[in-house]
Amino acid sequence: MSSSSGTEKALSLLRRLPRVSLGNLRPNPGAHKGKTRGRGIYGGKTHGAGSKGSGQRQNFMPLGYETGNTPFYLRFPCQNYYKGHHLKLSYAPLCMGKLQKMIDTNRLRCDVPVDVTQLMATGLFIIRPEEKEGGFMLENEGIDHFKATLNLEVQWADEAIIAAVERNGGFITVAYYDPISLRAAIKPMKFFQRGVPIPRRMLPPQHLIDYYSDPKNRGYLADPAEVAKERFILAQKYGYVLPNVNASPNKEMLLERKDPRQVFFGLEPGWVINLKDKVILKPKDPELKEYYAS
C-alpha cells in the first residue's frame, strides 16, 4: 500500500519509539568482521604478535598468576565454616524493644495484622531478597518490657519471644516467603505498578520445612490444633496465664491468618491490582484459575 509504505512506517516508528542513542543501535548482521591473525603481506612478519617479549614467544602467564607470590585464589584453604553459605538465608534482626518503640510512637499500627509488608511500611528497614535475605527475625533485646498485643508474622522467632508475644494476648506465626513473593511483599506499590498478577507463595526448601511445619515454632504449615496445644504448654513452661482470645475486642483481627500461598492479606494469587484505576482484575480462564488456586 503506497499510503503506508516502508519509509513512512519506519518514520512513524522512529517518532514514537524511545530516543535513538548508542545504547539501542546495532550494526547489521555481517557488518562487523572478527579480527583474524595476519598471514599475508602486511599481516606478515610478526603476524600480530608484536616484537620479542613473552607475547611474541606465546609464553603467557597463567590466569591468576601474581609473578611469583602465592596467588590470592591459592592462599586460603577450604573453609568448612562457609560450606553451603550460598544456599542459606539470612534474616534482618528486629528487637522486641524496637518493635515496642515503633508501636508506642505510632510508627507501626497494631490494629491490623503485622507482617513483612507492615514492618517494611515503617521505612526503618531494608530487606534485599536478591542477597538471600529471607525477611525478619525477632531478637531478645528488650523482651522484658514488651507489652503490645498484636497478630505478628515474621520469618524466624525463638521460644522466649513466642512466649513474650503470647503472654500479652497476641499471636505469632512464622512464615516463609520465597524471593519473588518477598519482593512483592516488601514493596507492594512498586509491585502493582508492574502490572503482573500476584504470585503464589512457594513452599520452603527442604532444609527449612521442619522449622515451618513445627507447632512449637508456630510454623505457618503446622496444624492449628497442635499450635493451640503448644501455646498452652508454653504458658505453663514460662509461668503465665494464657489470655482468652475470645474475650478480647480484636478477636477477628488476631485470628486472621494467611493461606500458605497468599502474599497479601485479603488478596489472592492471580489478581492484578491497578493503583491508577483502583481496580482488582481477576482471571476468568479456568486454566489460569486452576493454576493460581493450586
Binding site: S12, A121, Q193, R194, V196, M202, L203, Q206, K276, L288
Partner: protein
C-alpha cells in the same frame, strides 16, 4: 472485599508522581516491538488509559506451560512429601547412631578379654627372654666350672667350650625327645594289640560273627550227623 487499607501507610516516592495522566496509545508496530513486560508496566502506571488489553497481563498458554514445568522441577515435592523425607532422614540418623552405640557396648564387654590377651602376650615374651637369659647363664656357669679358673666369657676358649656345651645340650634334648616318641609308639602298639586280639579271632571264624549276640557255631561245638 477489597482491603487496601492495610497498604495506606506505604510510601510512594516523588518519582511515582511524575507521570503524564494521559499516555499516548501504542500503534500496532509498537505493540509488536515493545516487550510484554514493558506493556504490562505501562498498564501498571496508567491503567485503562494506556490502551493495553488486560488479557496481556496474565501468562499466555505457552508461558503457563513453561512456568508449570519450571515449578515441577524447582519444587517437586508437596508439603507432606517433604515432611516425610525429613522424618526418614532423622530416622536413618537415629538408627545409625543406635547401631554405633550397640557396637561400642559389645566391644566394651570384650575389652577386658582383649587387655588380658595383650598382657599375656607381653608376659610370654618377657618369660621367653628371661628363660633364654637364664639358660645362657647356666651354661656359662657350667663351662666356668669345667675350666675351674676365672675366665672372660668373651674369650675364644670360653666361646668354643660354650658352643660344645650347647651342642651337647641339643643332642641330649633330641635324644630325650626321640626316646619319648618311641615310648609313645610302644604304648600305642600295645593298646592296638590288645584291641586287635578278639577281632582277629572273630575274623578267623567268619565275617560278621559276634560272639555275644549270635548263637555259637553249632558246627564247631557239636558234631551233626
Amino acid at each position: 472485599m477489597l482491603s487496601l487499607q492495610h497498604l495506606t501507610h506505604l510510601r510512594m516516592s516523588v518519582w511515582d508522581t511524575c507521570f503524564a495522566s494521559e499516555p499516548q496509545l501504542l500503534t500496532d508496530d509498537e505493540e509488536q516491538v515493545l516487550s510484554l513486560s514493558s506493556q504490562r508496566k505501562l498498564y501498571g502506571e496508567y491503567g485503562a488509559a494506556s490502551g493495553i488489553s488486560i488479557s496481556k497481563l496474565w501468562p499466555s498458554k505457552e508461558e503457563l506451560r513453561l512456568n508449570k514445568e519450571w515449578e515441577s522441577i524447582a519444587y517437586p515435592h508437596s508439603i507432606h512429601q517433604m515432611i516425610e523425607l525429613e522424618r526418614k532422614k532423622k530416622q536413618e540418623e537415629e538408627l545409625r547412631l543406635k547401631e554405633r552405640q550397640e557396637d561400642l557396648v559389645n566391644k566394651m564387654a570384650k575389652l577386658e578379654g582383649w587387655k588380658k590377651v595383650v598382657r599375656d602376650r607381653i608376659a610370654k615374651k618377657e618369660k621367653e627372654a628371661q628363660d633364654a637369659k637364664a639358660k645362657k647363664e647356666r651354661l656359662i656357669e657350667e663351662v666356668r666350672q669345667i675350666f675351674g679358673f676365672r675366665i672372660d666369657p668373651r674369650d675364644d676358649r670360653f666361646k668354643d667350650a660354650l658352643l660344645q656345651k650347647e651342642r651337647e645340650e641339643k643332642k641330649a634334648s633330641k635324644a630325650a625327645k626321640k626316646l619319648a616318641r618311641q615310648q609313645r609308639m610302644i604304648e600305642r602298639l600295645k593298646t592296638q594289640v590288645v584291641e586287635e586280639s578278639p577281632v582277629e579271632k572273630a575274623s578267623a571264624s567268619g565275617s560278621g560273627y559276634d560272639e555275644k549276640n549270635d548263637p555259637p557255631n553249632t558246627l564247631s561245638g557239636s558234631s551233626v550227623v
